[in-house]
Symmetry: C2
Subunit: 530 residues, 2 copies
Amino acid sequence: MSSDRSPPISRRALLSLIGRSAGGAAMYQAMTSLGLAAGSSFTGPPRLEGAKPGTSVLILGAGIAGLVAAYELRQAGYRVRILEYNDRPGGRSWTIRGGDTYTELGGQTQRCGFAPGQYFNPGPWRIPFHHRAVLSYAHRFGVALEPFVQVNYNAFVHSSKAFDGRPQRYRHVQSDFQGHVAELLGKATSQGALDGTLTLEDRQRLLEGLRGWGALDAQYAYRSGAPSSEHRGYDVDPGGGLARSAVPSTPVGLSELLKGEVWRAIATGQEYDYQSALFQPVGGMDMIAKAVAQQVGSLIRYRAKVTRIAQDDRGVRVTWADAMHDGALHTERADWCVCTIPLSILGQMELQVGAPMRAAIDAVPYDASIKIALQFKRRFWEQDDAIYGGISYTDLPIDRIAYPAHGYGTAGKAVLLGAYNFGPNAYEFTAMSPAQRIEAALDFGSRIHPQYRSEFDQGFSVGWHRVPYTMGCFGLWSDAARVEHYRNLCAIDGRLVLAGEHASNLPAWQEGAVLSALDAIERLHRKAMA
Amino acid sequence: MSSDRSPPISRRALLSLIGRSAGGAAMYQAMTSLGLAAGSSFTGPPRLEGAKPGTSVLILGAGIAGLVAAYELRQAGYRVRILEYNDRPGGRSWTIRGGDTYTELGGQTQRCGFAPGQYFNPGPWRIPFHHRAVLSYAHRFGVALEPFVQVNYNAFVHSSKAFDGRPQRYRHVQSDFQGHVAELLGKATSQGALDGTLTLEDRQRLLEGLRGWGALDAQYAYRSGAPSSEHRGYDVDPGGGLARSAVPSTPVGLSELLKGEVWRAIATGQEYDYQSALFQPVGGMDMIAKAVAQQVGSLIRYRAKVTRIAQDDRGVRVTWADAMHDGALHTERADWCVCTIPLSILGQMELQVGAPMRAAIDAVPYDASIKIALQFKRRFWEQDDAIYGGISYTDLPIDRIAYPAHGYGTAGKAVLLGAYNFGPNAYEFTAMSPAQRIEAALDFGSRIHPQYRSEFDQGFSVGWHRVPYTMGCFGLWSDAARVEHYRNLCAIDGRLVLAGEHASNLPAWQEGAVLSALDAIERLHRKAMA
């Protein structure tokens, strides 16, 4: 059908090219020096040579930052212990499966009855290709990864402000927005609007490019026909034998697309953080944290609630309550401390640090976010709508619907993400009871998938401001706060250093937490060696 | 970092929206009547009720078309037999693994020494979401599917005509082409070029959209800074703790992009046939054919080379040579015949059909194509270049390099697709010996991946014009030939009907073969019942 290929080359040119292609090593030098292989600031595990024997480090929190810090410090020869509030590793890198129970702040308990193999990641759920630190730990500990489908051209884009509220296919709005832009720029080019900006040769090449890229026809128009249908799809696809002929589809007008602000949805998958390839661990995001935890399992004390952090020039003293034994208080001492407790909690705790770090801790509010998982009796989004993985976007308060990127085509119950939002919408949903949240997610989602009500089985929600000992989704740095406080938050205060996504320039991402931990322990190591 | 979210909504608006969202069933009616759920002409398995007991159908070829025809006809009560030239099912839907041997026309034999778990699909290798017939058979017989990564923003786009021959990251050329287009159209809009075309309100909305979609800055310029780096990526990514600050990247100029014709590469993934989500069967494309073959295994006679097809008004007589027994000739009789033998072979065979079908068979040449698989000692494309799956494009004769979409992050040897081209390039490569092809693929590929020579382990190639009893990749219909001959090719001729990708409007795709087979047997059934 379409031409996924390059122009031909003659045999002579082919052999000539083969002859000229020597010098691969020299070329690689050039590429590397040009930064083609660079990007991530992760350059491998930290170098922590020569730790003084017996030096102890207490790590607060067994989220991904604390786990990685513990693993690397112990590798380097430190005596390491971890205190963790929950009864599991991972922190916000958390996966809920059938049989799990969760009690949120306010006392409401949810019991998860999802089918075997189904799961819900209330926190991180995708790993971009450039998050090389997280990927490296996944690779190192043998965590199987599979693609996370972000962009699905057959998913929906829904705007209550356009198309009479009818959901549109992503491929339609993607193709049509681009096609109209190409047509308009082509017209402007032909009419001389770019004569002072581009050379004649470039204008000709641009017109040719706009036609191909924009799916314009021979007259540089974006309209119903083979070129546009090769991008947006047909009303009736080409078939086999003597079946009815293909029927081209008809583009949506630009005015309606602009009213619906559909460019917001189609730009998302083009952002660096959401570009393919993205990944998810097979079986749930917590597989990575669990794999690191398996390496340092004996070092972790679970259900230990830290209540006070004190320090002097000889070490740290951390008071914690043992939830396994009626909250009995204990004190743990160590030479050094890596604290990964969220600032939302740390700010309320008795904490012996200097004024600059204290001010930094108080300067960072936490963003609200909620995720609502819905289990349905069958994969109607695949069976009825041919949507396999990916995300439908809406301007309704649920913000999006994300389809499972595993188990494609299987029968039986399956879980999708029925809401995932931030800010005011998230506060509204978090304020509801778990049952009310499900109802709201079903009501809104029914506008995109009318099958919702008849196919619904059960749901589960996590509003991050109600998660005990977390109380927020991620540190919401303002630009001003970052300028004034970021270095003070990250600087070692006596014998204490903070780590976690809040102590990074990649907030809300596991990569930020891991890079923060690696940077923190390298600096701590240098100070301990001094 | 970036805002994968919608604008907020007040609690009152939220509750109001919930209240108004009744009527899901009515809405689904509306959606369905608007064709939102349509597209594919596949509407489920064929209805073949009431077959006359004992009626026999002989199927020629156990490729995906023949297998599906056999399965459905037998389900309907027909007596079915299949004759297949190869010693395996699947035809061009073929997977080569370690231990396999292949002798091409000309007599050269290749032995595959790929590592366990590695494989090579010389034929089809991806299944678009809208190929619902193929997907339905995969689902029905429990074939596990995983995403095929088509677009990889971190793969390369390489043009020997631009960038001094240096490969560019896909994310750079994608972001920069779109960004420059947005900036140019923004300028034209601001300067009044669209005043007669769009309303003032639409012009304002368009400017806002171009800024977001094109990653323009506050002055509607596409240049180095946070907005463009949020699309194309940074020179140094944001990191953790006190690591060095992020460094924005610098866009490439439009002139160089136009010279390199990079829009060809970035438009490919936007074509209907290559839009996400695409799939591949876990373990190799032949898993689908094998799964159908398992249902009809007892009906298949392998290594049976059909040499003559005769028919009269009572039935068909097919002569075949038994390669298991020195080519002994046999004759198979049946009431009806479904022939899926490629036209490239059928055209050379003694075949008793009318002049219209004969002319149609002779009117369709077969396109050349070759694929070259290369096994390397390690996944340097992942480890060194952070390319996980997807495709790098080049204007060199290898046309593209495709990275394996399975086993991400694993150690050990791995196979990539080092060349996949059509037309003249494919003829050139097919004319070489298998060893020469590998050398050429390595030479060309080294310009994109300098690690090629030092990491190479072994290769395997299939040039379709040298595949015995296939002799070509797919039926290359011209528009004129299709107008004149297509219906004559597909029409039942006496007791014979043709099926396969060549008898479809989806050439070169398995979906075309399957839809062709389903359409053919439905018509055959109606004729047999008449």
